[in-house]
Symmetry: C2
Subunit: 332 residues, 2 copies
C-alpha cells in the first residue's frame, strides 16, 4: 500500500487531498506547522487508521526527515501564501517556500523517496505576454516575492530530478483554487464584508481584473489523476510541468454578481480604482490547460459553481474568519 | 562621484571590474568572504584611495548592510560557482547564491540603494531547445543546482524591482568567462595536466561539447557599458535581462588544439566519453547576443584569443594552482 507524505496537511488543499487519499485506501502522514493550517480541517482524517498527523515546520530538517520515514511519495503543498503582504516580511517567502522546499528535497533524499508533486502557481508567468499562457511561455520576469519563491522551489525540484536524485517530479502551476475550506481570497473577503455591511462592497482595483478559478475537488482530482497515471519516466525530462486550471476566466465584477445574486443582496459597489488590486497583482491570469486536459482529466465544476460552493461553505463555517477588524481585505 | 559596492570583490570577475572602475575614477567598496577570492587579485586596487576592501560573508546581513552604507550601485558577483560538485554540498548553492542574494537586496533596501547588476548564467536555459538561445526562450527546466540557485537569485531581484523596491535591475546571463585571474574551468584544468604530464591529456566527455567563452575584459566592458548607458527606467520592466556572450562557440577539441599549439605539445588525448562531461553538463551552450550587441557593445577578442590570453596568464601565475593532486579536474 502506498504511504504518502503531505506537507501543508491542515491547509485548504492539503486537507481535501488527504480526505481523498484516505477514501482511496492510501496511508497518509500529514505534516503541518499549524501556522495557518486548521486542525478542524483534519477532523475526518484524524480518527482513521491510515492517517497520522505530525506537527512540525519545514525548517526543522531533522524532524522532517524523521517524519517522512517509510513514505514513497510526497505532495509538497505547504507554503506561505500571503501574496499581497509580501513586503511586510520578505524573508518569510524565502524561508517558508524556498528553503522549505530545499529541506523537503533533502529529507526525501535521506529517506530514498524519489517521487514528488509540488503546488506552484500561475503567477510564475508574471505579466504574461501570451494568454492563455502555456507551460513553455517565454522565460518570464517575476513580479512578486511569492511567485519568485515558487519559481525557486520549482527550480530546486527540477535540479534534483534532472540531476538524478528523483525519478518523478510534478510541478503544478495552480490558478486560484476555491471551494470547501477556502480561507483567503476574494470570495472570503467579499462575504465577510457583506456580512458586516450588506449594503456596500469595497473592491480592490477597478473590478475588471480577469482571473481563473478552479474548484478544489477538481484540483485534487487532477493531482491524483496526473501523478497516478502519467509517470514521468518515459519523457525526456523527469520533471513534468502542468498548468492546473480551467478553460474559463471571469471578471471580478462577474464574481461579485454571482455572490450578490446567491445572497439576495444589492450592495453599492466601491472600487479602489486602477487596473491592479495591489502591487504585483496581475490584471489578467488565464492559463493554457491543454496539456493537463490531454491526460484525460477535466474540471467538473464551472467557475460560477465553484464560487457558489465556496460561499455556501463559508456561510456554514463562519468560524474560519478571524476576529472582526483584523487587517485589510486580501483577495487573490 | 559614484560609490559602487562589489560583492565577490576578490574573485576573477570582481577584481577585474574593480580595477576598471577605479581607473575610471569611481569610488569602490569591495566585499568578499575570501573563501575562493584571492587578495592578490586586489593588489593594484588596495593601495588606491578610492578603494576599500571589507571582508565579510553575504550571510551576515548586519555586516553587509553596514558595509554598503553610502553606496549607490551594487554589482552582485559573489557566488558559489562549483557547478560540477553541487551534490557534495547542495546547501551551499542555496545559502551562498539564493539566500546571499536575498541579503544583498535587503541590505540595499535598508540603505536606500536602488540599482543593481547581477551575474547570472547561461545555464539557466537548461538544455535549451532554441540555439542560439535568446533571453525570452521558452521557460526552461533546470538541470543543475547552480543554475537553479541563479534563477532563484534572478527572480528575487526582479520581484524587488517590479515590486518598486529598486529602480534598475540588470540581470546578465554569462557564458563561461576566461582571461586574467581565471581560476577554474577547462583551460585551468588542461594547463595543469599538461604541466604535470605533457604527453597526455584527459578530457571529460567526448570533446565534442560546444561552448561559448567570453574574455573577461570584454565582459567587464559590457557590464559597464550597459549599466552606464542603458537605464531601465523607460522600459516596461525595471528588470533588464541580457545574455552576455560572444557570437561564436568552439568545440572542446578546438580549444585543446589552440592550447597545444601555443604550448608546442602533442599530447595523447584520452576522452572519458559520453556527450556530457558530468551530470548536468550541457553539451551545447550558445547564447543569442543580439540584445546586448544592439546596445553598442561588442567583444574585442575572439574565443581563441581569450583562450591564449588565459593560458599566458596561467603560465605567469602558477601560484593559483592548489597543491598537486587535490581533487578531480573540473571544467565548465
Amino acid at each position: 500500500m502506498q504511504k504518502i507524505f503531505v506537507t501543508g496537511a491542515a491547509g485548504f488543499i492539503g486537507s481535501n487531498l488527504i480526505d481523498r487519499l484516505l477514501a482511496d485506501g492510501a496511508s497518509v502522514v500529514g505534516w503541518d506547522n499549524l501556522s495557518t493550517g486548521q486542525e478542524r480541517f483534519l477532523a475526518d482524517a484524524v480518527p482513521q487508521r491510515g492517517f497520522r498527523l505530525v506537527r512540525g515546520d519545514n525548517l526543522d530538517l531533522a524532524a522532517l526527515t524523521a517524519a517522512m520515514s517509510g513514505c514513497d511519495f510526497v505532495f509538497h503543498l505547504a507554503a506561505n501564501a500571503d501574496i499581497k503582504d509580501g513586503w511586510a516580511h520578505p524573508r518569510k517567502d524565502l524561508e517558508q517556500n524556498t528553503t522549505a522546499t530545499f529541506n523537503v528535497l533533502e529529507a526525501m533524499r535521506a529517506n530514498g523517496i524519489r517521487r514528488i508533486a509540488f503546488s506552484s502557481t500561475g503567477s510564475v508567468y508574471g505579466e504574461a505576454t501570451l494568454i492563455p499562457t502555456p507551460e513553455d511561455a517565454p522565460f518570464p520576469i517575476q513580479t512578486s516575492l511569492y511567485a519568485a519563491s515558487k519559481v525557486a522551489g520549482e527550480t530546486l525540484i527540477s535540479a534534483y530530478a534532472e540531476g538524478g536524485q528523483l525519478d518523478e517530479a510534478y510541478l503544478f502551476r495552480f490558478v486560484s483554487i476555491l471551494g470547501e475550506r477556502y480561507t483567503h481570497g476574494h470570495v472570503f473577503d467579499f462575504y465577510r464584508q457583506l456580512v458586516e455591511h450588506p449594503d456596500r462592497l469595497r473592491i480592490l482595483g477597478d473590478g475588471r481584473q480577469r482571473k481563473s478559478y478552479l474548484y478544489v475537488q477538481d484540483c485534487v482530482s487532477a493531482l491524483l489523476h496526473v501523478t497516478r497515471t502519467h509517470t514521468a519516466r518515459d519523457a525526456k525530462h523527469r520533471t513534468q510541468v502542468y498548468n492546473l486550471g480551467t478553460p474559463e476566466y471571469v471578471e471580478v465584477r462577474a464574481s461579485v454578481g454571482y455572490l450578490c445574486a446567491a445572497l439576495g443582496l444589492k450592495p453599492k459597489l466601491e472600487f479602489t480604482g486602477g487596473e491592479r488590486g495591489w502591487i504585483g497583482d496581475n490584471p489578467f491570469i488565464f492559463l493554457d490547460t491543454k496539456k493537463i486536459m490531454a491526460t484525460g482529466w477535466k474540471p467538473r465544476q464551472t467557475i460560477e459553481q465553484g464560487i457558489i460552493a465556496t460561499l455556501r461553505w463559508l456561510e456554514a463555517n463562519r468560524w474560519v474568519y478571524p476576529a472582526r477588524g483584523s487587517g485589510e481585505p486580501a483577495h487573490s
